[in-house]
Amino acid sequence: MNILVCLKQTFDTEERITIENGVVVEDGAVFVINPYDEYAVEEGIKLKEEHGGEVTILTVGPERVEASMRKALAMGADKGVWINTEDFDGDLDEHSIAKIIKATIEEQELEFDIILAGAMAVDDGSAQVGPRLAELLNIPHISTITKITVDGGNVVVEKDVEGDMEVIESKLPLLVTAQQGLNEPRYPSLQGIMKAKKKPLEEVEIDDLDIEEEEIEAKTKVLEIYLPPKKDAGKILQGELADQVTELVQLLKSEAKVI
């Protein structure tokens, strides 16, 4: 089974994030595998362990993404294809990334039975690259999955729909995007880390791809980026229980304005 996993490197949202001149400052930021993509990597490795085959990691980004790709290789993926954007000057958005990945799959002649991606990236939260890629490749896709079972060419998927669950049957080839709950990503073992540096990591330049620069120009423009407003500390009510309830109701009406 040939498994492709789309992996994006994002800044760690649990670390301090600084914004200057409308962009997130990279200096000092901590970069990690987008958590949803980490579920995709884990599921890819699990599918390989169950059905055999190979897991290939596809990442678009500057030089720093290599660390995240090596981590996926240390977890158990077999090889990586890195589309280097270090020297690319234009703006890229979700439509650009999907087109670049499709062109890379063609250029590298990557065969696939299934493509996994995260449901969304925690940085821009747009949840588009996976579905867009499936459309470009003309294969079906199912987003926000929490379970997948592959049996021959048949696939049964459980999909999270705003807290409800849909069970969907489909066939390979297929693209799915991973929702929280799909699995618990493994730690890369020390053996895995030792092996990762020896695994192939192919570098592709956008220039190498059969794609015109105008085709991948961003179609959207980010106007503003700002940090969420600072949360005030919560209020703990004191006194008799009955008084607390009265006060709570009053606060919900007057301050929170939710009732």
Partner: protein
Amino acid sequence: MQFRLSEEHEMMRQMVRDFAEKEVKPSAAERDEHEIFDRSIFDKMSKLGMAGIPWGEEYGGVGSDYLSYVIAVEELSRVCGSTGVTLSAHISLASYPIFTFGTEEQKQKYLRPLAEGTKLGAYGLTEPGSGSDAAAMRTTATRDGDDYILNGSKIFITNGGDAEIYVVFAVTDASLKHKGITAFIVEKGTSGFLIGKKEKKLGIRASATTEIIFEDCRIPSSQRLGAEGEGFKIAMKTLDGGRNGIAAQAVGIAQGAYEEALAYAKERKQFGKPLIALQAIQFKLADMATKIEAARLLTYQAAWLEAQGLPYGKASAMAKLFAGDTAMEVTTEAVQVFGGYGYSREYPVERMMRDAKITQIYEGTNEIQRVVIAKYISNE
């Protein structure tokens, strides 16, 4: 000169840190409080390769180096000093002498399960009457045909009772003083090998420390480690490397306490501003950060020397001395930054302060480290 970890070492650190945060830290206070050694944590560490970091794949290890090992001990100790010393004793004290002085057969039989982590290791040198003066030991090993019969007892044995494989030392010829000491590998469950009382300790309470007792314990000569009379040398050589594991433990404990203090200083408000706005607190934190960095560099340097196959005895003694003193100082200051809350078991810094103290004592007290360092420099 390179002061940056390789990508591989950085990835290992990140992995052990994630593991420590999620699998070790949440239960650290409870394991300390109830003095519980949780084998399942060691088992999980072993699955990730931590039990055999420096040993080659031919012995069930990962084939990495001493630097990776000290980084692992440091990161575990950052959240739990007990888990740090469990690994340090397992690798430096039990596995190292078998790797270095064992026969191929002994390595396959004992080092492999240690490296794979299916068995836990321990080291028995100290006796009630011989601590720093190890050559004064009284445990004896008497030759009987192809066997040795061990009698005596050892105290303060880290991983005691929980470990399956013990490297121990006994006198085979008292007339030769320290040249009459021999090392042995003893398996838990051997007739005449008993686990004595468990120490009630100030710190590292989630790692068992026990007495071990030999009562006419018969050991085949195939379990003798090295030649007869080579034991003292093996013990001292083992401690040379062991020191660096303890230095790493000390750095980790100090780092954990410093991070707690820093976060608290940013959060806690007094006189209308956070503690960190007060210069008295700033200076404490600046000193802590500087000393930890110095201790870490000494520790990594010693590990690097060992990984390169270069002499590291002086470097590891310096690292252990400085890191141990730093850990004690930093954790004490961390409690001070927390004030009354620091003294309470509600916060982890008091545990870290209790854990830090032992790093100035075991695997050669810091006074002995100074003796070791002085010996090196006076011969230079």
